[in-house]
Symmetry: C2
Subunit: 255 residues, 2 copies
């Protein structure tokens, strides 16, 4: 059974999608079979991996609605060992459409029950704490929380932690925190260093040693539809995600 | 009657809150009476203006739920002429709590009907296109769209434009696009320049001439609970928001 990890943080623009794409790719080039499930209506992970909107069929909406199984919803990517269940625009209406249904938080969990062909599954969640993010947290064994090294993002960390606790108590008792990954850090910037120090002091070993510095090559890669590892292997961004993948595996083995 | 402007973009982290705080402050120091309505459960605009969580009473949740009127929900800020209706944590549950009610998209519009004491009202919307953002768009005369000069943000611009069209057709025929504001631009960065050129070529005069460059003082100000104008008046960030305020007024007069 694959390990299912949701990548979530209600704060917008903190690097959820960038971490989903590049951590998944780094593990895949390392020989792990990885599936990326994109449940963000924006579909940035799907576009960032070069999946044309026309090829997405029912995508993850079909999975949630029970109209298609995982095998039918999954596509290959430009990266060997990395497959994706892409996002489609219909995801926008999920809160209002399924908000009143019985198993509304369990739709993704039920759809991923048959999954066998991967070692790791990552779920890229949208910003906010709506029904899509809840589905991601209920389907997951653990949650990885990207945290931008800035003030507003730091303010929001308690909200995602409270939500994880609520989900663990009421919907998914097995849910753990995989860890917190500091993103867009900048050693020359006092605020970034301060946020990094505060987060390590408070959350201790929950915080990955590996940080992802702000790096222009990371922002350029998705416009070419490939992960930064394939776009510029020597860049600080690519090397940081390789280091993150190694630490991810080390921490997973230690559990 | 004040002009009501929603600040919205479903893409996360593009500078909605930063623009809401600093544009509102720039207009206030210029002598306009401005009210900022924070309907984002994260409450970054409220914290960024120094409003302690303990002083927020029912906040904008009370407004939406019809439990308090605007006068009861509004607080002064450190900036003369700028008041705020702050966010409270109860906003998190609005989609599920009010998703099935009759006038679910009109709750904020109804609450702002009595508003008289301001020249301009800004509504800071959360990321995503949930019920809170819909309430912001239905209550507004116009929508201001901050757009980060990066690839994923550019990809999402068509989604917010489609949503604005839908709201205009079905819920708020008076809704206009106030304009698109390019944020976190960097003239030394090809991608940023390319996004800026693409957006101007496509959206033409909808795009404000004023851009907001990436500026570290902008990220530092909220940790002191004040707008960048009060934190570092000479900074590029402060001066850009003053220029944006001047252009905002010029464009509003021209309408
Ligand atoms: N290490 C980095 N260095 C530079 N830019 C980065 C880095 N990580 C992410 N970015 C950029 O920051 C922006 C936000 O990142 P991303 O879209 O991955 O965040 P997100 O949390 O998925 O956003 P949303 O909340 O909208 O889903 C993107 O334009 C991305 O290219
Ligand atoms: N001009 C700028 N220069 C540098 N940093 C900026 C600038 N504008 C915003 N930021 C920073 O970028 C981050 C995202 O901005 P902000 O929180 O205002 O975006 P948002 O769209 O409101 O996010 P959300 O989608 O979570 O509501 C914040 O940490 C903010 O301080
Ligand atoms: Mg994302
Ligand atoms: Mg915001």
């Amino acid at each position: 059974r694959p390990r299912i990890v949701a990548i979530a943080n209600q704060k917008g623009g903190v690097g959820k999608t960038t971490t989903a794409i590049n951590l998944a790719a780094a593990l895949a080039v390392g020989g792990k079979k990885v599936l990326l499930v994109d449940i963000d209506p924006q579909g940035n992970a799907s576009t960032g991996l070069g999946i044309d909107a026309a090829n997405r069929k029912g995508g993850t909406y079909g999975l949630l609605a029970g109209e298609a199984n995982l095998a039918e919803s999954t596509l290959p990517t430009a990266v060997e060992n990395l497959t994706i269940a892409p996002s489609v625009a219909d995801l926008i209406g999920v809160d209002l459409e399924f908000g009143g249904t019985e198993r509304r938080e369990f739709m993704l969990r039920d759809a991923l029950r048959e999954q066998a062909q991967a070692d790791v599954v990552f779920i890229d969640c949208p910003p906010g704490l709506g029904l899509l993010t809840l589905n991601g947290l209920v389907a997951a064994d653990a949650v990885l929380i990207p945290l931008q090294a800035e003030f507003f993002a730091l303010e929001g960390i308690s909200q995602i932690m409270r939500t994880v606790d609520m989900v663990k108590r009421n919907l998914n008792p097995a849910l753990e925190v995989e860890g917190i990954v500091l993103t867009m850090t900048d050693r020359r910037n006092n605020l970034s260093e301060q946020v990094t120090n505060d987060v390590r002091a408070f959350f201790k070993q929950l915080v990955f040693d590996t940080v992802i510095p702000r790096n222009i090559r990371v922002t350029e890669a998705p416009s070419h539809g490939i992960p930064v590892l394939l776009y510029d292997f020597r860049s600080v961004g690519a090397q940081s995600y390789l280091a993150l993948a190694a630490e991810f595996m080390k921490r997973a083995r230690a559990k």
